[in-house]
């Protein structure tokens, strides 16, 4: 899922909220969340 979100987020195909949900579901970790969104988890 990390690869998809990394690709999709800048194109607005995934939202910040969806990335946060992916962390909750253990599909990505907090470090990856920051890499994708440039935001702190």
């Amino acid at each position: 899922m990390y690869a998809w979100l990394k690709y999709a987020y800048p194109k607005r195909w995934a939202s910040e909220e969806q990335c946060r949900r992916a962390v909750e579901l253990n599909k990505i970790n907090a470090i990856q969340f920051k890499e994708i969104t440039n935001l702190e988890y």
């Binding site: 899922m1 998809w4 995934a14 599909k27």
Partner: protein
């Protein structure tokens, strides 16, 4: 005697000093507000030694800015700000499908999570009953 013809190279900025256009006067007459960055250029616009370099990234965000006479690369943070403040065009069919993929991946992950929880509960019940 061979004479060398030079061209002037210009850049055009937006309000945030991002470079939104680069061209040679061989092909276009500059506006008064355009900035000449090279007076002895080749026929085609050149920046950092690259002819007709793309000034935008894959998200159509400017890659360069002009600060106090210097051409610098825009930072990742600046690109994110530009992207988030830009008006977005209507979503294409590809955008809609890609958004659905994200949604389906998350729904699938949620179901996997629920399945795992159920499997754990059943396992605990079975072990507890033995």
């Amino acid at each position: 005697m061979i004479t060398q013809n030079y061209n002037n190279h210009y850049i055009r900025l937006n309000e945030q000093s991002h470079i939104i256009k680069g061209f040679s006067d061989a092909f276009e007459i500059p506006l008064e507000t355009d900035i000449c960055i090279c007076k002895e250029g080749v026929r085609h616009f050149e920046l950092n030694g690259v002819v007709n370099l793309s000034l935008f990234d894959f998200n159509n965000v400017p890659k360069y800015k002009y600060v106090e006479g210097e051409i610098l690369e825009t930072t990742e943070e600046e690109r994110q700000v530009y992207l988030s403040s830009s008006p977005q065009p209507d979503p294409t069919a590809q955008d809609i499908m890609a958004t659905q993929i994200t949604q389906l991946m998350l729904e699938n992950a949620e179901k996997e999570d629920q399945l795992q929880t159920l499997a754990n509960q059943v396992t605990e019940l079975m072990l507890g009953g033995m």
